[in-house]
């Protein structure tokens, strides 16, 4: 068991002082979330892992500038989002890579046309909506957990999820899948 496992604030304070164990605990706690946040921007799992790792490194370098340790989660996810956007911007072939990656995922996960269409619907969502979908369904996070890492209110999380589902529903309808009443 890592030190400060139950106390995020203490872990952040200790990490600021260079405690490697505390840093390891934070890394383990936040890494999956960071990967999915980056994925919602990049649509590429491998690049998302790179972005998550880079984001954590950037966070270490800037940890001293974090004014409130309570905001560590939202601050870290914002860094991760920026890291993912940097990858998109800096990679000339980002668009092509995304297409390729999406193609691979379709091929692997398409048990039937429904899954493929659902995947398309997720991919077509604006990143801000895709983020909550990915955190909720891929990462299994509750509304409250999402609220704490994104630093937005619970109502906003619910609202984004509802709008995301609505947009997905409309894409599914266009593709011939109707929701049961």
């Amino acid at each position: 068991m890592r030190p400060y496992e139950d106390n995020e604030k203490a872990a952040v304070e200790a990490a600021r002082c260079g405690d490697v164990e505390a840093l390891a605990g934070l890394y383990e706690r936040f890494y999956p979330t960071l990967v999915w946040v980056a994925y919602s921007v990049l649509l590429d799992r491998s690049l998302a892992e790179d972005a998550a790792q880079q984001a954590f490194a950037t966070a270490c370098e800037k940890l001293v500038s974090l004014r409130s340790v309570d905001r560590f989660g939202p601050w870290l996810t914002a860094i991760c989002r920026n890291a993912a956007q940097d990858i998109v911007r800096s990679r000339q072939r980002a668009a092509a890579l995304q297409k390729d990656a999406a193609g691979e995922i379709h091929a692997e996960s398409s048990h039937d046309g429904f899954d493929r269409t659902v995947k398309e619907a997720v991919d077509r969502l604006p990143p801000v909506y895709r983020e909550v979908i990915v955190l909720h369904y891929y990462n299994g996070m509750s509304y409250k957990e999402i609220e704490s890492v994104l630093g937005v209110s619970g109502d906003k999380v619910k609202g984004r999820l509802a709008r995301a589902r609505k947009q997905m529903q409309s894409h599914l309808e266009k593709e011939g899948f109707r929701r049961e009443q």
Partner: protein
């Protein structure tokens, strides 16, 4: 034909579309890839508080050991000696005491260390001589010769540091007080020669998990003491071979993990105490005809380079960045800034869509001045060839990138992973 689905089916389908399994955090692997970031946590705090208690400063300085690729030379050696003393100080073995070791160290005027050290991502031979003429940072003299391709020599004369690259006959003069890696030595020298006195008392606090055993050296048949230890906050572990007679360290190894796994990043294979070394050996003489980059020139060029970097990275003004990189190159084509600038000009041209020009600059960067960036330049060259429709040339450049990365970069690091993907794509066509 229309198909219906329930909310539950939709939710299950979303979950099924997640690419790959749950992300698995691997902190050790992250540390390997981002060692500098770990170092930065300590530095950041240091900057913020400006001046912590001595032990904190020592720990933070220690954390940066082995992480800098530039001028890390004898820092690790200092740390090893410090660790040795600390562990003796905490030991229960009546055969030693800290006082004995301090007494032994007080008699040392000069050190000569040979071994292997990490330079530009490669383990290379090095040789280092250190002398303290008295107390205070001005008394520090050091000469470090790196066995890397560039055969860099660094001479520290108190606060002034000379770096010399024989291939281009270039000397750069630097301010030691601004070189983070040297601060450990200066701190030690300020307090007392060979890190004795108050600093040792402070350092007694930092060692953890040490073990010691007496063994017979299979080569010489003499007894030696093996000390192993680690320091979790710095994420380093060390193995020291100590001479039971003199109480001095014969060999020292440092790992960038807590379990002494893999190749040590610093391996002092032989430490000789008080060798005969003439005083002039520690004085740097500027070779005839050498290009000398003064402290002021260096600072100006550094500022120019940083402005170019800002235009490139933050402002995305590639055409303007080219102008500044070119100025840096024109000033100092022979040293690292020059070749890095050529590479950056190539990348700017890539961003501007002029792939022919990009290729020209990447080739020049590779040809004119070898640095640790070859693999990266090969990758960019490959990408530029690909954009230019020269598939076979691209393939060769990506393969060169992989060859260069062997032993330097991990398989998932940039640009190794990317080069591999491109090769697969090209071959798959």
């Amino acid at each position: 034909m229309e198909r219906t689905y329930s909310e539950q089916e939709l939710e299950q389908a979303i979950r099924r579309t997640a690419p790959g399994g749950p992300p698995k955090p691997d902190f050790e692997a992250w540390q390997q890839r981002h060692a500098g970031a770990l170092c930065a946590t300590g530095r950041s705090v240091n900057r913020k508080t400006n001046d912590g208690p001595p032990v904190t400063r020592v720990i933070r300085l220690g954390r940066c050991i082995m992480e800098k690729r530039r001028t890390r030379f004898a820092v690790a050696a200092a740390a090893v000696i410090v660790l040795a003393v600390v562990f003796f100080g905490r030991g229960t073995n009546k055969a030693w005491s800290m006082e004995q070791t301090i007494a032994a160290l007080k008699k040392i005027e000069t050190l000569h260390i040979t071994g292997k050290n990490l330079c530009e991502g490669k383990l290379v031979d090095f040789e280092c001589w250190v002398r303290l003429f008295g107390e205070g940072s001005d008394s520090l003299r050091m000469r470090y010769q790196c066995g890397c391709e560039r055969k860099t020599t660094v001479v520290v004369q108190g606060g002034t540091v000379y770096a010399y690259w024989p291939a281009g006959n270039v000397v750069r003069i630097m301010d030691g007080s601004k070189m983070e890696d040297l601060q450990y030595w200066y701190e030690g020298a300020k307090i007392s020669p060979w890190l004795t006195g108050k600093l040792l008392e402070t350092l007694k606090l930092i060692g953890r998990g040490w073990q010691q055993k007496v063994e017979t050296d299979p080569n010489t048949g003499t007894e030696q003491i093996i000390v192993t230890c680690n320091h979790p906050p710095s994420n380093i572990s060390a193995l020291l071979v100590v001479d039971p007679q003199s109480k001095l360290v014969r060999q020292a190894k440092l790992w960038r993990n807590l379990r002494r796994e893999g190749e040590p990043e610093f391996d002092a294979q032989a430490i000789v105490y008080n060798p005969e070394v003439p005083t002039e050996f520690f004085e740097f003489k500027i070779p005839p005809g050498a290009t000398v980059l003064s402290k002021e020139d260096g600072e100006k060029t550094q500022a120019l380079f940083e402005r170019a970097e800002q235009l490139f990275h933050q402002d995305k003004k590639y055409a303007e960045a080219i102008g500044l990189y070119q100025q840096v190159y024109d000033r100092y084509p022979q040293i690292g800034w020059g070749s890095t600038s050529l590479m950056m000009i190539g990348i700017c041209h890539t961003h501007l869509g002029d792939h022919g020009k990009a290729i020209e600059f990447y080739q020049r960067a590779l040809r004119e001045h070898p640095t640790g960036w070859e693999g990266v330049i090969q990758f960019y060259l490959g990408a530029a060839y690909l954009d230019n429709g020269q598939t076979q040339e691209a393939l060769k450049a990506f393969e060169n990138c992989l060859t260069d990365a062997e032993g330097k970069r991990g398989p998932d690091e940039f640009p190794v992973k990317d080069a591999r993907e491109y090769i697969a794509k090209i071959k798959g066509k």
